[in-house]
């Protein structure tokens, strides 16, 4: 009896709290989703055969990156698109690995141009950048809605496809992906 009462009270409180009782209302990606996806991709990049095969004696390469291309039904701001790539770069420890793996990271052309337009970079900044490889990614999604609009359920599956491409011939050197699913309840119109 003594132990049942607190459990019952906890259940009542839990049922009353929105966090416990309210289902998700949006299938949009959260900042945590983007961060988790980037972390997973970074781990895959670190563990990839392409990365493992590289040594200090490997042919030196110059890597740049582009922001994520968003082909989902969600808005992913340019800041978030850059964030994902930079999170992969940092979580994989690419800067620290660069000497051991014989590669150099150089600023993306788009960021260089934006910085020059803002006046953040002086004329001629990074003029010697000659990337040989590029990291980029595409985010896609598939949406499933309940057959009845009244049921109001929706599920979005997001897939982030990450690539390392050799610029000289477009050869795909490494590719992997991570996926996550988000579901929400409630009428879309509402």
């Amino acid at each position: 009896m003594h132990t049942a009462a607190p459990i019952l009270a906890l259940l009542v409180i839990c049922a009353a709290l929105p966090a416990c009782s309210t289902p998700a209302r949006s299938t949009r990606l959260t900042q945590a989703d983007l961060s988790d996806m980037a972390t997973d991709l970074a781990q895959k990049l670190r563990d990839s055969d392409w990365m493992k095969a590289r040594t200090p004696e490997s042919q030196p390469v110059v890597i740049t990156w582009a922001k994520v291309e968003n082909l989902t039904l969600d808005i992913i701001t340019p800041g978030e698109q850059w964030y994902i790539m930079q999170k992969v770069r940092d979580s994989a420890g690419l800067v620290q690995l660069s000497k051991d793996k014989a590669f150099t990271l150089v600023i993306p052309a788009e960021l260089k141009a934006e910085g020059e337009q803002r006046g953040s970079y002086e004329e001629g900044f990074a003029s010697q950048r000659t990337p040989t490889h590029r990291m980029d990614a595409t985010m896609r999604s598939a949406t499933r809605s309940a057959a009845s609009l009244s049921a109001g359920a929706r599920t979005d599956t997001y897939l982030c496809d990450f690539r390392v491409t050799q610029l000289s011939d477009g050869a795909l050197l490494w590719s992997d992906s991570v996926a996550l699913k988000r579901a929400a309840a409630g009428l879309l119109f509402d």
């Binding site: 209302r25 808005i75 340019p78 409630g186």
Partner: protein, 569 residues
């Protein structure tokens, strides 16, 4: 069906006389001065003013409505960067499901505790479209695609139940009759008597197609252009043009004001959409000339059909919420109960007047003293939208648009650095002569041709409202001005005056431009009406506020006088 329509129409008319159309609810509506200013084309000041009172709490009833209005006006002014925060917040809320977790509802009686305004389905579609335009104007074609595709949500199609051209009144009558046959029959009809239908939002398909074309996704672009032509056969030529021809600029041209939602019936219990700008099929004519060519050498680009009529959307059953239908059904149910006797006794006399009286009485009985329809709506939506693809030649061009006797001149348009650029052009209904002026009187970040006195900043008494940059400072110096000021010095003077030089300085929102008496130096994009209004007409001279600027102006005058007094060698 016809009889019910007649009854409702007459009842609406009679009730408008009895209680006054749109009575009450004034507190829910936009300040009329905002609409008047928008009619004059003063979109920027309207956006800035409305931005000041944006609700910060997403659970605030007006959180979403305020953002729809602000974003509409911000894009009409031509400053998409200042709409970024607003658009993202709007998208987040539109994508949140089940906010009003009862029925499919946008407009409900106030005393039922609605939490958030989310708009009618057609207002939501237009909201997504507006976000797509904002993203496209910023060159974010992937996000424009996401927003455009989101505007194409599935709709409820009751045509098999109540007929293809059925109105909300027809559906309400069918539901009321179903209630009479079996308890709960009406609710069952509304909840399951529809087929899930693909959207018929032609504008959404075209925007989605354009965004996909910009991304190089030609197959998806083709599907969307075909879908638009399938929805509306008058768009076939436009869809073919968008699919097959070469263009580097798309103008999304908006005209007039969308319908307004009025409270009608006893105590204003029923909400009804009424047009403000009448629907017509008037095409838009576009022409183009290079800035170096004489005015007489304009080349016709073509004529373009109306892509989307918002009045028509507001009339369409599939684009409206069902809460209004439920309210009407309830009242009609009472009328049918009483009317059954009348119909039986008047089968030969066909006395509509008695029906009308009964409908009014029933409505009054059902609504009296309990509720007032929520007539909040997106008051700044356009009545119609055109889509105009143009291929700009290198250099600067002037585009002229003509619709319903109004001429708009868009100066300083240059080809994009990428594959495609998009501009929102909101045609004001009562603008001044500036709307068709082919020349500018103020220089700015985008002008390249010389304008008299463009070698001195506006705050110093000149005609330049460019943000400081090395090129701008060099122009001042070549004109013999600001010889003792660095770019940083000038930026500091702007800051002393409280003038924002970036959207970040403005807290990510819209603020009034300096030429409007405001404190922002963010220029609208060329090819927008805001650009014309600000830079193609005279404004009052600037009045310095800070001692630092007053001192700098005095020094500048001294420097000019000493230069003028120096005899030539």
């Amino acid at each position: 069906m016809t009889k019910t329509c007649t009854i409702l129409a007459c009842a609406g008319l009679a009730l408008a006389t009895l209680v006054g159309a749109g009575s009450g609810c004034a507190q829910q509506r936009l300040d009329p001065r905002a609409v008047q200013s928008a009619q004059l084309g003063r979109f920027g000041p309207v956006a800035a003013k409305l931005s000041e009172s944006l609700a910060k709490d997403p659970s605030d009833r007006n959180y979403l409505l305020g953002r729809v209005n602000v974003l509409q006006m911000t894009l009409a002014e031509g400053v998409p960067d200042a709409g970024e925060e607003t658009a993202n917040e709007l998208f987040a809320l539109l994508r949140t499901q089940g906010l009003n977790a009862d029925k499919t509802t946008a407009s409900v009686v106030l005393n039922e505790g609605i939490k958030v305004w989310k708009g009618e389905p057609f207002e939501q579609a237009m909201g997504y479209h507006t976000i797509a335009v904002q993203k496209a104007m910023r060159g974010e074609w992937d996000n424009a695609r996401a927003a455009a595709q989101s505007s194409l949500f599935l709709l409820k199609d009751f045509s098999e139940t109540v007929g293809t051209d059925a109105t909300a009144a027809d559906l309400a009558k069918a539901a009321a009759e179903a209630d009479q046959k079996a308890e709960g029959g009406g609710e069952q009809l509304l909840n399951s008597g529809y087929a899930v239908a693909d959207s018929d939002f032609a504008l959404g398909y075209l925007m989605n197609g354009i965004a996909n074309r910009a991304l190089g996704r030609d197959d998806e672009a083709r599907d969307n252009f075909a879908a638009a032509a399938n929805v509306d056969a008058t768009l076939t030529d436009l869809a073919t043009t968008l699919q097959s021809t070469r263009y580097n600029t798309v103008l999304i041209v908006e005209y007039g004001f969308g319908p307004e939602k009025r409270a009608e019936g006893p105590d204003g219990a029923l909400s009804v959409w009424r047009p403000r700008t009448m629907s017509t099929n008037a095409p838009l004519a576009a022409s183009l000339r290079s800035v170096s060519a004489p005015e007489t050498e304009s080349q016709p680009v073509g004529t373009f059909p109306v892509v989307q009529d918002v009045n028509a959307m507001s009339r369409s059953l599939r684009w409206n919420n069902l809460e209004d239908v439920r309210t009407l059904k309830s009242a009609l149910g009472d009328a049918l109960l009483m009317g059954g006797v009348i119909v039986a006794s008047n089968n030969n006399s066909n006395d509509d007047a008695q029906w009308i009286g009964l409908a009014i009485a029933a409505l009054g009985l059902a609504m009296k003293g309990t509720a007032h329809a929520d007539v909040r709506h997106a008051e700044l939506l356009p009545q119609r939208v055109y889509v105009v693809p143009i291929d700009l030649a290198p250099g600067f061009s002037t585009v002229t648009l003509d619709v319903e006797g109004t001429r708009v001149t868009l100066t300083d348009l240059a080809p994009p650095t990428g594959a495609l650029q998009l501009r929102s052009v909101r045609i004001p209904t009562s603008a001044g002569a500036w709307l068709s002026m082919p020349t500018l009187v103020y220089s700015n970040d985008y002008t390249r041709q010389r304008i008299p006195r463009d070698d001195l900043p506006y705050i110093f008494g000149g005609r330049d409202v460019s943000r400081p940059s090395p090129a701008v400072m060099e122009r001042y110096r070549r004109g013999g001005h600001l010889l003792n000021l660095t770019q940083v010095d000038l930026e500091n003077l702007y800051r002393e005056e409280g003038i924002a030089l970036s959207v970040e300085d403005q807290g990510g929102r819209m603020r009034r431009h300096l030429l409007d008496g405001g404190d922002s130096l963010i220029p609208p994009l060329p090819g927008t009406v805001g650009y014309q209004r600000l830079f193609a007409q005279e404004h009052d001279p600037y009045r310095p506020k800070s001692d630092a600027l007053k001192e700098a102006i005095a020094k500048e005058h001294q420097s000019e006088q000493s230069t003028n007094a120096t005899p030539p060698e």
